[in-house]
């Protein structure tokens, strides 16, 4: 079967040749007027999250700095993705729970583009640990650009190669990582687009 690649971005995308190799770009932008889009929820504390989630529908992504908010978000049934940015905090238990609740954890590239120096070094280290945990628990995750503007987008090959190198350097099973990332990307694509894909493990072959 053909592998499809999904990318999450935070703006309304227009054509660029940087968007090379992606089959579906999901804008997490509540103003975007494309058919397939994510619903972005930004929250700084848990009560705000709960309030905002009441209105939310569809493919909901939560973006938050707070560890407690992220943990709460994983437990909510509506939340599909925990979005990534440079200040996100996520821990062992959250990742373990995400596996149980089938919440996708996004690992984005563009957070590295926004910071420099020691901060970036720390971020790289954090991401390595995150990837290690994701592999350990087999939590669904997706490698994305997570771009906030056009110039933060990178072509697919570059993105996967980057994470391949990052994990290989950190002593993580890089082949497995890329394999899982592709599988998950496939799954998300089919969930969002394919009407014949009912849920994980059930699909219509013929009427």
């Amino acid at each position: 079967m053909k592998i499809v690649y999904v990318d999450f971005v935070r703006f309304t995308p227009t054509e660029t040749d940087l968007f090379e190799g992606y089959d579906l770009i999901v804008p997490f932008n509540n103003d975007a007027n494309s058919d397939i889009k994510g619903y972005l929820v930004k929250a700084s504390n848990t009560s705000e999250l709960q309030k905002k989630l009441k209105k939310a529908k569809g493919f909901v992504g939560v973006m938050s700095e707070d560890l407690k908010v992220n943990r709460e978000a994983v437990m909510r049934r509506k939340v599909c993705v925990i979005l990534d940015f440079e200040g996100r905090k996520i821990d062992y238990t959250t990742i373990k729970m995400a596996k149980d609740k089938d919440v996708i954890i996004e690992v984005s590239l563009s957070k590295f583009l926004r910071v420099k120096g020691l901060k970036r070094a720390k971020l790289l280290d954090e991401t390595r640990l995150l990837l290690k945990l994701l592999l350990k628990f087999k939590t669904p995750f997706i490698l994305t650009t997570g771009a906030e503007n056009q110039l933060e987008v990178r072509p697919r090959k570059q993105l996967y190669r980057f994470f391949y190198f990052l994990s290989k350097d950190g002593g993580i099973d890089c082949v497995e990582l890329i394999k899982l990332a592709k599988e998950n990307s496939n799954r998300i694509f089919r969930k969002l687009v394919d009407k014949k894909y009912i849920m994980d493990g059930i699909e219509i072959l013929d009427v």
Binding site: R77, V103, Y197, I198, M199, I202, L205, V207
Partner: protein
């Protein structure tokens, strides 16, 4: 609490329905001999299905296999991991699985 409306005949409900009497074909399996076993389910336990084929009754494990199933007007492909419960537990656990899974299309 948000209530889910699961339609009774929707294709996602295969995992809660009775498999005995269904026409089943093994599509995916780590054991190549099992692929292509086709017939009617005669009995079901927690981990296995007994399928009555032209060449006698075969016992196929549920976990790690995928089955092609005729259900209602659909022809479905169902992963065996989803039905790997006791037959009577499947009603409760199946509904839970459907409720738990994100973006499941339940109102077809």
């Amino acid at each position: 609490m948000l209530k889910l409306k699961i339609k009774l005949g929707s294709p996602a409900m295969v995992i809660t329905d009775e498999w005995i009497g269904m026409e089943v074909e093994v599509v995916e399996s780590s054991n190549p001999c099992e692929i292509g076993i086709k017939g009617v389910v005669v009995d079901e336990t927690m981990r296995t299905l007994r399928i009555k084929t032209d060449r006698g009754v075969k016992v196929v494990e549920k976990k790690g296999r995928a089955f092609k199933v005729k259900y209602g007007r659909w022809l479905l492909k169902v992963r065996g991991d989803l039905i790997a419960f006791r037959p009577e537990d499947r009603i409760k656990k199946g509904i839970m699985l459907i409720k738990k899974s994100k973006l499941a299309k339940i109102d077809v």
